[in-house]
């Protein structure tokens, strides 16, 4: 398969994740959509790393996975705290910092 095929799949997945972030209301689904976008970026990195004979892309993919783990932990802790205070996981009800 050529590199373009991988990039097209990555584009479709990234746009799906972006759509999920923009149109869904549930905070947890939004975090999952961010994971989708990070996975699309990972696929791009590994595909370019394979076709360009360089391991740097795969190193970056490893770091992206680690950062995704940290992001998931902190994001889910935040949603637990918000859910304890007011029973809401919808982002349009969590508007304390909005003015």
């Amino acid at each position: 398969m050529s590199l373009t095929g991988y990039v097209v799949v990555s584009l479709a997945l990234f746009m799906t994740g972006l759509a999920g972030v923009l149109i869904r209301r549930n905070f947890i689904i939004i975090l999952m959509s961010i994971e989708l976008m990070l996975n699309a970026a990972n696929l791009n990195l590994v595909a370019f790393s394979h076709y360009l004979n360089d391991l740097a892309g795969q190193m970056t993919a490893l770091f992206v996975i680690a950062i995704a783990a940290g992001e998931a932990a902190v994001g889910l802790a935040i949603i637990i705290v918000v859910f304890r205070g007011k029973v809401a996981t919808n982002v349009d009800q969590i508007n304390l910092l909005k003015w």
Binding site: M1, T4, G5, Y6, V8, V9, L11, A12, L13, M15, T16, G17, L18, A19, L22, I23, R24, R25, N26, I28, I29, L31, M32, S33, E35, L36, N39, N42, V46, L52, N53, D54, L55, A56, Q58, M59, F63, I65, A66, I67, A68, A69, G70, A72, A73, V74, A77, I79, V81, V82, F83, R84, G85, K86, V87, A88, T89, D92, Q93, N95
Partner: protein, 256 residues
């Protein structure tokens, strides 16, 4: 297998065809599962669709000769991160809702389709030519991918590796601090300021509410939120015991 050399693959057209078939299967499964993550109503089903996305992404990494990344993808993503998501979904007892989409979702979808079309045109026009890197694929095939990644990670990327360790430590401490001492944060939320003044009520509030995700709070009026039925339901739990069943029944009714 479709590496740029064409030395090995020249004798193996059948092998190439099989990898192409796997590529098409993985891409179809990944995209369909991604659409399911975004479009399903029940959060648990969304999590399972995300599991499918991650597993098929590991298949992509195997096709791209990145076995170590595929292993890390399965262990860390599907094994740790996804389990964390499912734990939180089941802890909060999230159910499917009637209105899952943002009110102005057609506008967002319109811009996303335009951006996707533009990017697709750009990358179908792009040749993707570039200077080849220094990593020898025969060397990786000789010593194994994990060995090659380890050599690279602990020599050229040692500083980044240490930084990511410190980052993960910070994330762990942040998550523990957020999830543990949440009583002081709750008072600053507009919906929780009644409940947070009495710690006993505050500790009961998740079990009182039974995890109904939203629907009973008026979202755009803070004054209404402060007197909303969710707080009314919290108060009798501490002081007014005789009125508690009636109040909690009022809470359990979904207010549109």
């Amino acid at each position: 297998m479709a590496r740029g050399h064409g030395r090995v693959e020249a004798h193996l057209p059948l092998n190439l065809m099989i990898t192409d078939l796997f590529f098409y299967y993985f891409s179809a499964a990944t995209i369909v599962s991604g659409l399911l993550v975004v479009s399903l109503r029940n959060p648990v089903q969304c999590g399972l669709a995300l599991l499918s996305v991650l597993a098929h992404m590991a298949g992509f990494f195997v096709l791209l000769n990145a076995e170590f990344i595929a292993m890390i993808q399965v262990i860390v993503y599907a094994g740790a991160i996804l389990i964390l998501y499912l734990f939180v979904i089941m802890l909060l007892n999230l159910k499917s809702e009637e209105r899952v989409l943002h009110p102005r979702w057609p506008l967002a979808l319109f811009f996303i389709v335009i951006a996707a079309g533009e990017l697709a045109v750009l990358l179908l026009l792009s040749p993707f030519a570039g200077k080849l890197g220094l990593t020898d694929p025969d060397m990786i095939a000789g010593i194994g991918h994990s060995h090659a990644v380890g050599l690279k990670l602990f020599s050229d990327y040692l500083l980044q590796f240490e930084i990511i360790g410190v980052f993960l430590l910070g994330a762990v401490i942040g998550a523990i601090v957020l999830a543990k001492s949440s009583a002081s944060y709750v008072g600053s939320l507009p919906g929780g300021n009644l409940a947070s003044h009495t710690p006993g009520v505050n500790a009961r509030s998740p079990s009182n509410m039974g995890g109904r995700p939203g629907g009973n709070l008026a979202p755009h009026a803070p004054g209404v939120i402060a007197r909303s039925p969710s707080n009314v339901g919290n108060q009798p739990g501490g002081t007014l015991a005789p009125h508690a069943p009636g109040a909690s029944e009022r809470v359990s009714g979904r207010i549109p």
